[in-house]
């Protein structure tokens, strides 16, 4: 936990703003005219989620959340690479 009350409320507001930023990114997933658009928007959502998890670790004062962010980054990388290969070549490997 952060002891300073002002810093704590600032962190919570930044976390709220990052969660609000998820909404337009999800709109791009739904409305994107082509498949690479949707894939790029999903990648953007994952990046925002990593930031949200780091902010959550700050708010809660727990270090374990950062490990969750590392795991999410790893799986998102593998998923993005394979889906990008699938929508260009028609197969994954």
């Amino acid at each position: 936990m952060i002891e300073n009350a002002l810093a704590q409320s600032a962190i919570q507001l930044i976390l709220l703003a990052l969660v609000i930023l998820l909404i337009p990114a999800s709109w791009r997933v739904v409305a994107g005219p082509s498949l690479p658009d949707r894939l790029a928007a999903v990648d953007l959502i994952t990046t925002l989620l990593i930031g949200i998890i780091v902010m959550l670790a700050l708010v809660e004062g727990t270090q374990v959340f950062v490990d969750m962010a590392i795991a999410l980054a790893a799986f998102a990388f593998v998923g993005t690479i394979s889906i990008a290969r699938y929508i260009s070549e028609g197969r994954v490997y």
């Binding site: 952060i2 925002l48 700050l58 590392i70 993005t80 690479i81």
Partner: protein, 150 residues
């Protein structure tokens, strides 16, 4: 003082995340949108990580690991998406080129797309002529046979 620096770095990261998301909404092309989402992945996330490391120094090593991992993987993922955009465009161009070659008019086929149709029509006409000749021979043979008995 350290907390002030940390909150400033967090605000830096939030600013670039908002700019990147606005760019993903507003920009007109796939590749420009990829450019905007790359801003979120590098500048926005690194601002957030720097602020978190300044505010919570005990987890600085994990945050550094996460930062190095994102620094390695995010350009590779963005490049894979851009390469898929390029490859899809190439495939679409090849298909358009092939169909344009099929339908260009030549001397043998005076109008577009007539080549296959002409070959099919010729063989179909030959089939019909041969069937008519076979039917005529059969009928004349039957007629001659019947005429013989009567």
């Amino acid at each position: 003082m350290l907390e002030l620096l940390g909150v400033a770095a967090l605000l830096f990261g939030l600013f670039f995340s908002a700019v990147g998301v606005i760019g993903v909404i507003r920009l007109p092309d796939v590749l420009t949108r990829l450019h905007a989402s790359g801003k979120v992945a590098i500048l926005g996330l690194f601002g957030l990580l720097l602020g978190a490391a300044l505010l919570m120094p005990s987890s600085a090593l994990r945050l550094l690991t996460l930062g190095l991992f994102v620094l390695l993987t995010s350009p590779v993922a963005t490049h894979a998406i851009a390469a898929s955009v390029h490859r899809r465009q190439e495939i679409a161009d090849e298909i358009a080129h092939e169909s344009a070659e099929d339908s260009t008019p030549t001397e043998e086929t005076p109008f577009a797309g007539a080549n296959v149709t002409a070959v099919l029509t010729r063989s179909r006409i030959q089939d019909i002529i041969e069937a008519q000749e076979r039917a005529l021979q059969q009928r004349s043979r039957d007629a001659g046979h019947n005429g013989g008995t009567k």
